[in-house]
């Protein structure tokens, strides 16, 4: 931290004191300061532009940031500029420099480093007297400033300490090595006066002298030399490397053994002296002559053949090269490699282009190696369970393995091609150039580019901790999307589509096998947890929650990469549609259209397997299973058959060998005819179809041999209409399987597990469809109530129920029971609410309880209670007898005459009671009729019809729920219409009170109470009539019409 803060203070002080110290220098620029730092001045002089160019070079050279757009580069540039322009350093003082030079000399002398001290003095002296590139004269300011720069960079020259010394000493031996280079450079220019070697170099060790002649001789590839001389040169170098003495053998070796070009300072190979093959030298010469600061680098010369072979090796996955270098996963081109007939820039740009592909190949190869675990021959994802059991526990899951297998297959073909080229190269029969090779490989390279792109997005960019399910579905999705993407481009990317399609069909194999296993055997076998649906382990099959909570659907969101868990309860049918807008691209897209079917079929199958199928089908099925084709096989076969069969029709008219151009026209007309039959007039579509068929002819040729291998089938498929292919080749199989499974399940449930009977039983008891049985049950209760006895005893109720049910439905009597629930006392105030303690319960056995769940029973129970309340009111009204009154009237007749006066109002009262009774009866009967016939019966009929047509269990459950919701709604039990129910309950309550009074006998009546009852009833009645009429007028509840009419009729008669 210390140096930083110090520096900052300095900077701060500097920038603050800037104006004071450098006022002269800065006063002019002060006005333009902001623009100057921005480096944005429009009116720059050429001088400043020059300086900027140099500054950029400097930054590039020192920091290594190449890209000028880079933020770092811009930062550095700004920094450099602000330092160059606004500093407070003094100008260079030549005397000071001289002093420090002699100071260093002294120091070196003190350290008795005499030779170094001597060379130091000599060098500085020589430098000061030498010309600079753009400055004339000696010992100018420029000289001194350069020296001072070096002194600054060397540390702090004013107080050179002792620790600095060893480094300075080490620097000396380094000099020796570079003299050779220096001399070589001198060699390259043969024209002009040869400069004298500096005196101090003669003092250096003798190694350089010995190297000197060699390098001098060696470097001579020049235009003005004769071939003889060149021959001499090579002869001279030969003994150094080869010890073969005989000239014949040497000649043979020269022809047949590759020069070790990878060794540093390798001997040069002989080559033509024609101008064309010496472009590099010519160019170098030009650069050298024009730019005094041009500095020839050391170069490694190779031949084009060597470049080609290295290219081929690179593409085939070899990791050690000379020309290409691997740096932790990146492939780069060695800097100093040149060929004689190209400039180094040109060669470099070509090689960098190759290196990109090399890197792609390398990454793919590494992925393949990782997944296969460096197996020399990765085994194919073999069919059936042997494969999955073997590989199941290994970390790379099956989808990746399949993908790798597909990649590997592609690379096998690619490497064959490479080998062929290399063999041609070795044979040397024809000219092979780098550009020709690249041209030949270009379709392959394009494919590798596509593969690498898919690999990057599908595999490499997935963060390491991602669960397998996300990885697998992401990979499949990427492939799928890539196919769709390239597919939409059309003809331009047929190759890519064909390649990707074959990759996809291979990669999708594990998924389809999982699906197959699941929907055929009911067993979701997915040890690596890569499938988007996973079994929740803790739910056993024979649990009532099985249907809802067994499976988890992972829907992978690509943005956040987290998985949402969707419960299957929703996913069965509605979940797939709900919120599909935001999840559109997140699931495994290709399965999306049939996902519901897969889930349903899978679950149905598992359930079916666990039911004891009473049919003998079981054994039958297992025997068939051996011959059964897996979903994947079916898929591949139908892809083939689809393409072949379509191809058949054109082959009738045109033989396969004939030119495709002609057949295209013909087919187009044929297809146009076909389309016209279906009322489609689309020439573009027709052309596209025709093209599709044509491409498939290649496919047909390949497989018409008869012994086609299924695995290879998809390699040459070009599918223009990828989604169409899926729709016609994959989805029908799943669909068929789904219908079969679910049909079986429904059949078994209906037939063996008496689902329909249970549904009927629910209606019988809860909805009182078994009228006689339930009548026995409830009248017993009502009688008890009327006799003012306690009826809320569990034993009494259960006995009554058992008796009633046992007579007619003995099998149900054990399942039915009654419970009493305590209800909150606030609701107990009305007699009619007394019944609400009753709970009827029916024990539904597994698996029918999947359909008739306890939630359903709750709704049933609510309806049951309402019915019971209506029945109670009806019963209590029905059981009132006029004989109760006859006693009273008789008594009155025989009474005293003065009592006759009272008789009149009594008769009137009786009459009013009777009238009220009839009105109440009309009301209760209307309500009863409405609910029992208009609602329960007709809805029940609809329901039965729908149940017959239900295709799968989920649909059945939904139908059942909808049925329950409907009756619940229509019985006015909904919260929203609770005020209507409230009014009805009031009336029912009134009925009970009324019958209570009636039975209490004449004496208990009071005229006021009758008045009250009448007015209450009238109010409720009127309210209901208004409300219902409104509802009916609105037309939203057609079923209410009958109730409204009958109530209205009763009201008008009042």
């Amino acid at each position: 931290m210390q140096p930083f803060s110090l520096q900052n203070q300095q900077v701060n002080a500097r920038s603050e004191g800037q104006l004071a110290t450098c006022s002269l220098r800065c006063s002019y620029r002060e006005a333009n300061r902001c623009t100057a730092v921005n480096i944005n001045m429009a009116h720059w002089s050429t001088f400043e532009k020059e300086t900027e160019k140099e500054t950029k070079k400097l930054i590039r050279c020192i920091s290594g940031v190449e890209d000028e757009e880079d933020q770092n580069f811009q930062l550095a540039l700004k920094f450099a500029w602000s330092n160059f322009r606004f500093h407070r350093y003094l100008d260079v003082d030549s005397h000071k420099i001289q002093r420090s030079i002699s100071g260093i000399y002294e120091k070196l002398m003190v350290h008795s480093d005499l030779s170094k001290a001597g060379s130091w003095m000599r060098l500085t002296e020589e430098f000061l007297n030498s010309p600079l590139p753009n400055t004339d004269g000696a010992k100018t300011d420029a000289h001194y400033s350069i020296l001072s720069l070096l002194l600054f960079l060397s540390g702090s020259p004013s107080n050179t300490n002792f620790t600095e010394k060893p480094r300075l000493k080490e620097a000396e031996p380094e000099d020796d090595f570079d003299w050779a280079k220096y001399l070589m450079e001198g060699e390259d220019i043969d024209i002009g006066p040869y400069p004298d070697t500096p005196e101090w170099s003669e003092e250096e060790s003798e190694d350089e002298d010995s190297q000197q002649p060699i390098s001098r001789e060696d470097s001579g590839i020049q235009l003005d030399r004769t071939p003889q001389e060149d021959q001499d040169n090579t002869n001279k170098t030969v003994p150094v490397t080869w010890t073969v003495g005989e000239p014949d053998a040497r000649a043979w070796l020269e022809q047949h053994v590759v020069t070790p070009y990878w060794v540093a300072h390798a001997p040069r190979f002989p080559h033509s002296l024609h101008l064309h093959s010496n472009l590099l030298n010519v160019w170098d010469q030009h650069l050298y002559n024009t730019d005094p600061l041009y500095l020839p680098e050391e170069k490694a010369f190779v031949t084009e053949t060597q470049v080609i072979r290295e290219t081929l090796w690179l593409l085939s996955g070899v990791k050690k090269h000379f020309i290409f270098q691997h740096h932790d996963g990146k492939v780069s081109v060695r800097n100093n490699v040149v060929v004689t007939h190209l400039t180094s820039n040109c060669l470099r740009s070509v090689l960098e282009h190759i290196a990109v592909y090399g890197q792609a190949v390398f990454r793919l190869q590494r992925f393949i190696d990782e997944v296969t675990g460096y197996n020399s021959d990765p085994c194919p994802p073999g069919s059936g369970s042997s494969y999955s059991s073997k590989k199941g526990s290994e970390p790379p899951f099956r989808t990746y393995q399949a993908f790798v297998w597909a990649l590997n297959k592609y690379f096998t073909g690619f490497k064959e091609e490479l080998t062929t080229i290399e063999r041609e190269l070795i044979c040397n029969d024809e000219t092979v150039t780098l550009s020709a090779v690249l041209e030949r490989l270009s379709p392959h390279l394009a494919q590798i580019k596509v593969l690498h792109k898919v690999f990057c997005t599908g595999v490499a960019e997935v963060p390491p901790a991602t669960p397998n399910v996300v990885r697998a579905s992401h990979l499949l999705n990427t492939l799928y999307k890539a196919i769709i993407e390239y597919d939409s481009v059309g003809e331009a990317s047929e190759q890519a589509v064909a390649l990707l399609f074959s990759l996809w069909t291979e990669t999708v194999r594990p998924y389809l096998e999982i699906v197959d296993e699941w929907i055929v055997h009911g067993h979701l076998f997915d040890p690596a947890k890569e499938f988007i649906i996973q079994r929740n382990k803790d739910v056993p099959v024979n649990h009532r929650d099985f249907w809802y909570a067994t499976y988890t659907l992972y829907s992978v969101s690509e943005m956040v990469e987290n998985e949402e868990k969707l419960n299957d309860a929703a996913s069965g049918s509605s979940g797939g549609d709900q919120g599909s807008s935001n999840r559109q691209l997140t699931m495994v897209s290709f399965l999306k259209p049939v996902l519901k079917q897969i889930i349903m079929a899978g679950k149905s199958m598992q359930l079916l397997k666990n039911l004891d199928c009473k049919d003998t089908e079981q054994s039958d099925r297992s025997s068939r299973d051996a011959e059964r084709k897996s979903l994947y096989t079916l898929f591949l076969e139908s892809v083939q058959s689809r393409l072949c069969s379509q191809e058949e029709s054109p082959t009738d008219t045109v033989t396969e060998q004939q030119a495709t151009k002609r057949s295209l026209v013909k087919m187009q007309s044929i297809i146009a005819q076909h389309l016209e039959i279906e009322d489609v007039h689309d020439p573009l579509l027709a052309i596209n179809f025709a093209r599709l068929y044509l491409e498939q002819s290649d496919f047909h040729e390949r497989f018409s041999g008869g012994d086609f291998i299924v695995d290879r089938s998809s390699q040459s498929v070009t599918c223009q209409t990828f989604e169409l292919t899926l729709r016609s080749c994959l989805y029908p199989h799943i669909e068929r399987r789904y219908i079969e499974c679910c049909g079986n399940l429904m059949k078994t449930l209906k037939k063996d597990y008496k689902l329909l009977e249970y549904l009927q039983a629910m209606r019988n008891y809860f909805l009182l469809e078994a009228g006689d049985t339930m009548y026995d049950f409830y009248t017993a209760i009502f009688d008890k109530v009327q006799e003012k006895e306690s009826w809320q005893q569990l034993s009494f109720l259960n006995v009554q129920l058992q008796e009633a049910v046992g007579q007619r439905y003995p099998e149900d009597s054990s399942r039915l029971s009654v419970f009493l629930e305590t209800i909150d006392p606030s609701r107990k105030k009305h007699p009619v609410n007394n019944l609400e303690v009753l709970t009827l319960s029916y024990k539904v056995p597994w698996p029918v309880d999947i359909v008739i769940s306890s939630e359903c029973q709750k709704i049933y129970n609510q309806v049951f209670l309402l019915l019971l309340q209506i029945k109670w009111a009806k019963y209590s009204l029905d059981t009132l007898r006029f004989s109760d009154f006859t006693d009273v009237t008789k008594k009155l007749e025989g009474a005293l005459p003065e009592e006759v006066k009272v008789k009149e109002p009594i008769n009137q009262q009786i009459h009013r009671m009777c009238l009220l009774r009839v009105k109440l009866m009309h009301f209760v009967n209307s309500l009863h009729n409405y609910i029992m016939t208009r609602i329960l019966h007709s809805t029940g009929l609809e329901f039965q019809h729908q149940v017959q047509e239900a295709k799968d269990l989920d649909q059945l459950i939904k139908i059942h729920y909808r049925y329950l919701a409907t009756i619940h709604d229509r019985c006015l039990l909904r919260e929203k219409v609770s005020f209507v129910k409230e009014a009805i309950m009031k009336v029912l309550n009134l009925v009970l009170i009324f019958s209570d009074r009636w039975q209490a006998g004449f004496g208990a009546w009071k005229i006021e109470s009758i008045d009250k009852m009448e007015s209450d009833f009238k109010n409720c009645h009127m309210f209901l009539v208004t409300i219902l009429n409104k509802a009916v007028c609105r037309g939203s509840f057609p079923h209410l019409e009958s109730l409204a009419l009958s109530l209205m009729a009763g009201f008008e008669q009042c």
Partner: protein, 111 residues
């Protein structure tokens, strides 16, 4: 004429070689390329002390950049945007900006 020009070129080349030797002897760490850039800049009148300050700072910056890159390593497959994590660098720039009373917003790399 051509030979005269060549003579000059050679003389300059010689100078540069001498200079390179001096630079080696002083252990400045400059190679031929950067040395020739420096020579050109000095000739254009850039103050050598300022130039040396810039060079040192740039070296430090690229040093720390390399370090961060290797720290990030190959874990992330996507090559992350390389940022210079050099506070002094930014602070210095910021100071310059402040003393100049500018409202120019400097772009600092997001950490």
């Amino acid at each position: 004429m051509a030979s005269a020009a060549n003579a000059n070129v050679n003389a300059v080349r010689e100078t540069m070689d001498v200079l390179l030797e001096i630079s080696r002897l002083l252990n400045t760490g400059l190679d031929m390329e950067s040395l020739s850039i420096c020579v050109r800049l000095c000739e254009q009148g850039i103050n050598p002390e300022a130039l040396s300050a810039v060079i040192k700072e740039l070296r430090k910056a690229s040093e720390s950049l390399k370090k961060t890159v290797t720290e990030i390593g190959e874990g992330g497959t996507k090559p992350a945007e390389k940022k210079w994590l050099l506070p002094a660098f930014y602070i210095r720039l910021l100071r310059t900006a402040q003393t100049e009373n500018e409202n120019r917003s400097l772009q600092f790399g997001t950490y």
